[in-house]
């Protein structure tokens, strides 16, 4: 059995703000974009008491909690703290999978520290994090990634939960199926219609029946319901795309305005590609459009290097999918070739492909 820890910083952005300004400690605060149409990145526990949640549009959050303070995003500061946190994790094991700025998996199966106990290691890590950043983290300890992830949520904030090989069976037997990552609103509704609520229900229903109903995903539900997850820790996640998008202050309609907006995004896209040294890996260009009713469409085309002609054609194509609606968001992105250990270099035929 492996020993996996899922570590999750508690309300990360908001926690950094409270640390740097203790006056916020007991006030409902959130961090997010300042625009009228922005959404929250995260919020603290006092805000959550009002029903405020991350990813909630600002105006909705303010309706629920009129005293909510929405602070601007200080990404560079959060990144610095995150770096510190990850350096702590690496003291315990090199097997750290970065999930996001504030979330990671660790494989401590062969970690000799703290007597080799994953529970003690998780405790020690959280202790170190608090000592060195004054921020709290929650941890889940389990024999695999999906259970560790569920476990880290059990005693949040500033707590941890352990699923041992002995308690695993009982834990998944009573596990509500919606806790399985990937089971969203639509799937859980279907599962409930079939009378399936817990892991035990799914096992009783049977693999064949689940697969017949949900395809490959049914098989995954069946595995998870038995507490099985064989996914390894992924040490390096390769960037597959680089993109920039913009929610507009006012919805716009028609090609000329959309084109102006798109063009205004390209310098930032260029900057980000340059920063990642990825000009040579561009293999496709894409345009994303979100319409007033929040439906969205993405159009992509193969390309080598940035080509405004391609973006123009893609924008036209994307807008043509719904001419009746105003546009609330425009994004552009480049798809990147995977970095292989063996990478063929390109001749500098075009200016744009040379760095």
């Amino acid at each position: 059995m492996r020993k996996i820890i899922h570590l999750d910083m508690d309300c990360f952005f908001a926690a950094v703000e409270m640390r740097d300004n203790p006056a916020y400690q007991n006030m409902p605060i959130a961090v997010g974009g300042q625009g009228r149409r922005s959404v929250l990145c995260t919020c603290n526990y006092p805000a959550r008491q009002f029903g405020v949640r991350s990813a909630m549009p600002n105006h909705q959050a303010l309706q629920l909690c009129p005293t909510l303070i929405i602070l601007p995003i200080r990404m560079q500061d959060y990144r610095d703290v995150s770096k510190k946190v990850f350096s702590i994790l690496h003291r315990y094991t090199p097997l750290v999978e970065v999930v996001s700025i504030d979330e990671a998996y660790l494989d401590v199966t062969n970690c000799p520290l703290n007597g080799g106990s994953a529970t003690y290691i998780a405790n020690a890590i959280r202790h170190d994090i608090y000592q060195e950043t004054q921020l709290t983290a929650s941890a889940g300890v389990a024999p695999n990634k999906f259970l560790a992830k569920i476990a880290s949520d059990e005693n949040k904030p500033n707590g941890q939960f352990v699923i041992t090989p002995e308690t695993l069976h009982e834990f998944v037997r009573t596990l509500p199926l919606e806790k399985i990552p990937g089971v969203g609103k639509a799937t859980i509704e279907k599962l409930h219609q079939l009378g399936l609520y817990t892991g035990q229900d799914a096992i009783d229903y049977g693999e064949t029946a689940l697969t017949a109903r949900f395809g490959k995903f049914g098989q995954l539900i069946f595995e998870r319901a038995q507490g099985i997850d064989n996914r390894e820790i992924v040490l390096y996640r390769e960037r597959k795309s680089i993109g920039v998008e913009k929610t507009l202050i006012e919805n716009i309609i028609g090609f000329p305005d959309c084109w102006q907006t798109l063009k205004s995004l390209t310098p930032e896209l260029q900057r980000r590609i340059a920063q990642k040294k990825a000009f040579n890996r561009i293999k496709k260009l894409g345009v994303k459009i979100k319409f007033a009713d929040f439906t969205q469409t993405t159009v992509e085309q193969q390309a080598v290097g940035l080509d405004m002609g391609v973006f123009q054609a893609l924008l036209e194509k994307g807008l043509a999918r719904d001419r009746t609606q105003a546009v609330r968001l425009i994004g552009i992105h480049v798809g990147l070739e995977t970095i292989n250990q063996e990478q063929q270099l390109r001749l500098p035929l075009e200016q744009t492909t040379s760095e």
Partner: protein, 370 residues
Amino acid sequence: MKFTILRDDFLKPLNMVCGAVERKSTQPILSNVLLKAQDGTLQLTGTDLEIELVASAVLSQIEAPGQVTVPAKKLLDIIKSLPEGCDIQFELQAESAVIRSGRSRFSLSSLPAENYPNLDDWSAEFEFSLSRLSLRQLIESTQFSMANQDVRYYLNGLFFEVEGSTLRTVATDGHRLALDELTMSQTASSNKQIIVPRKGVLEVLRLLESDDEQVQFQIGKGHIRIVDTSFIFTSKLVDGRFPDYRRVLPRQGDKEVVASRELLKSAFVRASILSNEKFRGVRLNLNSGIHELTITANNPEQEQAEDVVELVQYVGGELEVGFNVGYLLDVLNTIRADEVKLTLSDSNSSALIESMDESQAMYVVMPMRL
């Protein structure tokens, strides 16, 4: 329309023009060949609207002149399968083309010749003649580097450049580039730069013999034509700007390897066996003062090949650089000289490969990061 022709006289030109005809076509008539019987000869035409091939055959007898189009592939299969040396009688009866030979009889569908598409009218702006062999070698030495179905459509073809009395071909797929040139007997008053589509280039290679007989090469605004005694090839040009090949010819190379082409080639072939099947990377190692090239290859199964090639000469310092072995072998298979010269600079810069004879050909290959 009715004529008699020897099977063997019919087969060769038919085979030639069928190369232009697409298997699957949007218009039914484009799957057909056009046959025109007149004055004792049969003229055959095949086209895909981009290229057009015309060839002719001597008729044994012509009872009634005329013209018609019939399915190319079926006609070719029929003629091919008839015994060598036999007579074939072709006759148009109402809408059917009837083919008889010995006790065999075929009735093929036809479409009227009037509907067969013509390439637009054009006129030559520059025209010169050269031997079949010279043209063939000029194309052969570069065509393998053409891109295939690249989004940069202008790379899916062979670039011809006329500059004074120099005729040059350049091909590149973005990873490697091949360039060759020859001196024409004429001098052009103005420079010409054209891109011949990939399919046309491959067709010309299929048709062109390697002897001293002369062919006419005609360049127009949007077309080229090659007039050979046995066929006339016409192609539309790719409408696009070919990248400036001069920019990518390496000039910084300070390391020069001279080696036997044969030795180098066989060592690369051996090393390639254990290179990654998909990426085909091999590693080249050179050391100053040592006239040896070490080639190594690894695959994901952790197997390894190592081969050491004695060099004729090495001038330069230490270097480790990776290449797609397929690209190197393509070049070594194309060069005809006994010895080749590789000019290198560092592991991120292109290599220049040239033959040690009088050939003007230059091959540029970008390395791989291994």
